[in-house]
């Protein structure tokens, strides 16, 4: 591949027929830093955080009341046979609210795709997807369905060209993450709320370590980097009080405070009092500042630099990331105090990501985006895009775990996955019909980089649509 083709396809999201191969590929990548829009017009359709959070609050309230209604008769007179509400009966209010939440997801995931299709800054757009996957939440948890998109739009996009520490803080204080990793309900055992719960002998509620652990293991320093279970627990104590306003409406909600629905809220009543000691360092700050200080230190750690450098190198230079590149990126990170553009510049200036042979097997998302860009699609109906990505095996914001989607070929280059890609290619090509000449398009997308095998296969196809389908599944196109 020529370096212009590498810039468009490996660094970018795939060439569009109207894209001119950049004469100076490195400059083309760097210039995107100046042009990138954190909130492009395409995202205007996305519902606001208040709307989403209020719908979620309504839903949770509906569920809580239904739960109470089920419990109440048994408590009042356990001996008398009571008419039990049928648990399977579909509550219309609940169904309506569920549909709203699902609709929010569709709007957001389609805005994400359309933004990727229309973007003139595909390198930065790719970095947004990279970081969103680094800070993965998964919509298989109901409260996350409507919030996952907002995490990417509100916490990742504004900081993709900023400091890692700022992105980290924005993510960990975002309602999607606080809800997904159960932080919103975590209560310090010695906090005022914790004491109240203990006094009443209420249901077992207390400290939740989920977010603390994943911040260390996945978001910052990485697994097996020298932290202990005690460090995780201490960090979890420091994080108590980090919650979300307006989502809960029960009696506990009063303790949280009065932040608007969906906004980050530090709830002093939930916070574990006292200083903390994490990985040998003492944190004596009060309140919200305590966990913030831990995050700041984690972001500045050499282990974090190495962890992030490894993932970036793997994303751009191959499943087995070259150690020299990892080292260079790590140094750039530490020397710039986690300034992401400095790290990206080191990446662009390194030789490893510019290797002529393909280095990566595209994930389904990458393949779908590049295929749709190749046919110059700019807007895909919400249901259709969700269906396509689900069929290909990578539904948006649903990796199923906080570790996010794998970024290695072994996870994606599977027999059936390839067949699904061929079937999707045929449908995409059929939707275009005979209006695209795949022979010309192939030369346009891969100038000077098209194999004879692919060229011949396209030229011999029995119809324009079949030629296009073959281009979209060609060895060139399924890799980058």
């Amino acid at each position: 591949m020529l370096s212009s083709v590498i810039a468009l396809n490996r660094f970018g999201l795939g060439a569009r027929p109207g894209d001119h191969p950049p004469a100076d590929p490195k400059r083309w990548l760097l210039q995107q830093f100046d042009r990138f829009e954190p909130r492009p017009q395409i995202l205007a359709r996305v519902p606001s955080r208040t709307v989403v959070a209020t719908q979620l609050a309504d839903y949770i309230e509906e569920q809580r009341m239904a739960g109470q209604a089920r419990r109440r008769p048994q408590m009042t007179n356990a001996a008398m046979p009571q008419q039990q509400p049928d648990a399977k009966e579909i509550d219309p209010v609940k169904r309506y609210l569920r549909q709203n939440i699902r609709q929010n997801y569709l709007v957001m995931s389609s805005a994400r795709l359309d933004s990727a299709l229309a973007s003139d800054n595909p390198f930065v757009e790719r970095l947004v997807h990279f970081w969103a996957n680094h800070f993965a939440v998964s919509v298989d948890k109901l409260p996350v369905i409507g919030l996952a998109g907002l995490l990417e739009f509100e916490a990742i996009r504004p900081h993709v060209l900023g400091r890692f520490s700022d992105m980290l803080l924005a993510v960990e204080q975002h309602p999607a993450m606080l809800v997904y990793l159960d932080q919103a309900q975590s209560i310090g055992p010695n906090s005022r709320a914790g004491q109240l719960v203990a006094m009443r002998g209420g249901r077992q509620r207390g400290l939740n370590e989920n977010l603390a652990r994943e911040i260390m293991e996945l978001h910052t320093i990485g697994v097996r980097t020298g932290y202990s279970q005690a460090d995780v627990t201490e960090f979890a104590r420091a994080l108590t009080g980090w919650t979300v306003g307006g989502i809960g409406r029960g009696p506990g909600a009063r303790m949280i405070g009065n932040a608007p629905a969906g906004e980050f809220q530090f709830a002093e009543l939930l916070h574990e009092p006292g200083g903390r000691k994490i990985m040998g360092k003492s944190y004596r700050q009060n309140g919200e500042a305590q966990a913030r200080a831990v995050l700041t230190d984690l972001a500045a750690s050499p282990a974090t630099a190495k962890h992030l450098a490894t993932k970036l190198a793997r994303h751009f230079a191959g499943d087995e990331p070259p150690p020299a590149l990892m080292d260079r990126l790590s140094k750039a990170y530490l020397a710039s105090n986690g300034d992401l553009p400095t790290v990206y510049r080191a990446l662009i200036e390194s030789p490893e990501p510019w290797a002529a042979q393909p280095l990566k097997f595209k994930t389904p998302w990458e393949w779908a985006v590049s295929a749709l860009r190749a046919i110059d699609a700019t807007s895909i109906p919400a249901q259709a895009q969700a269906g396509l990505l689900k069929q290909l095996g990578q539904p948006t914001w649903q990796p199923g775990s906080p570790a996010g989607w794998d970024d290695i070929a072994a996870s994606w280059a599977a027999p059936e996955a390839l067949v699904l890609r061929v079937e999707a290619a045929q449908r995409i090509a059929d939707s275009v019909g005979s209006s695209v000449d795949a022979r010309a398009l192939a030369e346009k997308l891969y100038p000077g980089s098209l194999s004879d095998t692919t060229r011949t296969a396209i030229a011999r196809a029995e119809s324009p649509a079949e030629g296009l389908a073959l281009l979209l599944v060609s060895p060139e196109f399924v890799r980058r």
Binding site: V422, Q426, T453, A461, E462, S463, P464
Partner: protein
């Protein structure tokens, strides 16, 4: 059934469901009840194996074992034999509802599928010269009641594109990948170590799982034919285009063409059955972008050629004959020494058939549908009065 259908409006104005004439909805009757269906054979169908010139002295020598297929075929007079897979079509011929035209070709004289199909569909004299299709331009010649066209595919094919509104109609659950594409992907991946291994593993699994691509990928002619008939027998669309793929038989032609033709035969039979009394007023044109080499290649197939055979089918057709200015199959008679030489202009045939079908002025039909083609529309009687 209705909920399984999906409608896609094409052109500037969205076409409503009502315009397509759902059963049960009442509409004013059109002035006449003429129907027209164009079936395109994408991939270059081998006319020499479909309407076989078995009476040509050079035929058997050229075609080798291919001629065995034709032993059981229907005799069309003393010179031509219809491939036996076209059994229902042969019955139409017996009922004088099928007419075959041989050594026919569009103005395209090269051998690229894309360019050839573009010429066939736009009606231009060369690829990409015209931006709309001859079927769309036909709509401009017809009274509003009859100028309603539909593509039986998810997108509107080139022949139907243009300023006049056209609908498209496809079952939502169309088979997603054709056998042909699967075979070509296998070839494309043959020299790629990783993809070759993955692909073979997937194909093995599919075969074992009984999820045979044969069943899943093959177009079901009878289904498509019934679907088309259902739509066309309402009071909505009067004109339709049906796309058939898989005619590019570079290898294993005998078996593949047999399956292709059986599928086409079922499609046409289902159209006839589904249209009922409307079949009387129906014209079906079957044509391909070009023909194939006179001599088979080394892989039991044929390569891209020139002239092929076209079919006119339907109750409106003045059939029971083969029309051909037969050029012969001797080496000297072949185009560039390899292909059947075109002696009949497909454009003139289509313009002639449509002008007779709709009572249009033949000269006007010719200049509107095929503005770049010199010569006049077929004057010979193709349609019953």
């Amino acid at each position: 059934m209705i909920s399984r259908r999906s409608f896609i409006a094409a052109g500037s104005a969205a076409t409503t469901l009502a315009a397509l004439g759902f059963p049960g909805m009442a509409f004013a009757k059109a002035a006449t009840d003429r129907r027209f269906i164009f079936i395109i054979q994408r991939g270059a169908a081998d006319g020499l194996h479909i309407v076989a010139p078995t009476g040509d002295p050079a035929y058997a020598g050229l075609r080798g074992d291919f001629v065995q297929d034709l032993v059981a075929g229907s005799k069309l007079g003393s010179f031509f034999t219809l491939h036996p897979a076209l059994a229902e079509t042969a019955k139409m011929y017996g009922d004088k509802q099928a007419l075959f035209v041989h050594a026919v070709a569009s103005p395209y004289r090269d051998r690229s599928h894309f360019d050839g199909q573009n010429v066939l569909e736009t009606g231009g004299s060369a690829a990409y010269r015209l931006r709309d299709g001859w079927m769309n331009r036909l709509l401009g010649l017809l009274p509003a009641d009859e100028a309603k066209a539909l593509a039986l595919s998810t997108t509107v094919p080139m022949a139907l594109r243009g300023p006049h509104d056209v609908s498209s109609y496809a079952q939502s659950q169309l088979p997603s990948a054709t056998d042909d594409l699967m075979a070509r992907v296998s070839a494309l991946y043959a020299s790629d170590q990783q993809l070759h291994g993955l692909w073979n593993a997937a194909m093995d699994t599919r075969m074992k799982g009984g999820d045979s691509m044969q069943a899943g990928g093959r177009q079901n002619g009878a289904t498509i034919g019934s679907l088309a008939a259902k739509v066309l027998s309402g009071d909505g669309a009067r004109i339709a285009m049906i796309e058939t793929n898989g005619w590019d038989t570079h290898s294993g032609q005998r078996a593949r063409l047999n399956a292709q033709l059986r599928n086409l035969d079922q499609l046409v039979a289902a159209l006839k059955a589904g249209l009922g009394s409307d079949w009387r007023n129906t014209l079906v044109v079957v044509a391909t972008e070009f023909g194939r080499t006179a001599k088979p290649n080394g892989t039991g197939g044929t390569d891209h050629g020139q002239a092929s055979a076209a079919m006119l089918l339907g109750g409106a057709v003045s059939g029971g004959k083969v029309v051909a200015d037969w050029p012969g199959l001797s080496t000297a008679a072949l185009y560039e020494g390899r292909d059947l030489k075109p002696t009949t202009d497909l454009d003139a045939l289509i313009a002639g058939a449509l002008s007779q079908h709709y009572g249009l002025d033949p000269a006007r039909a010719m200049t509107t549908l095929f503005p770049e083609t010199r010569g006049s529309a077929f004057a010979q009687s193709l349609i019953t009065a």
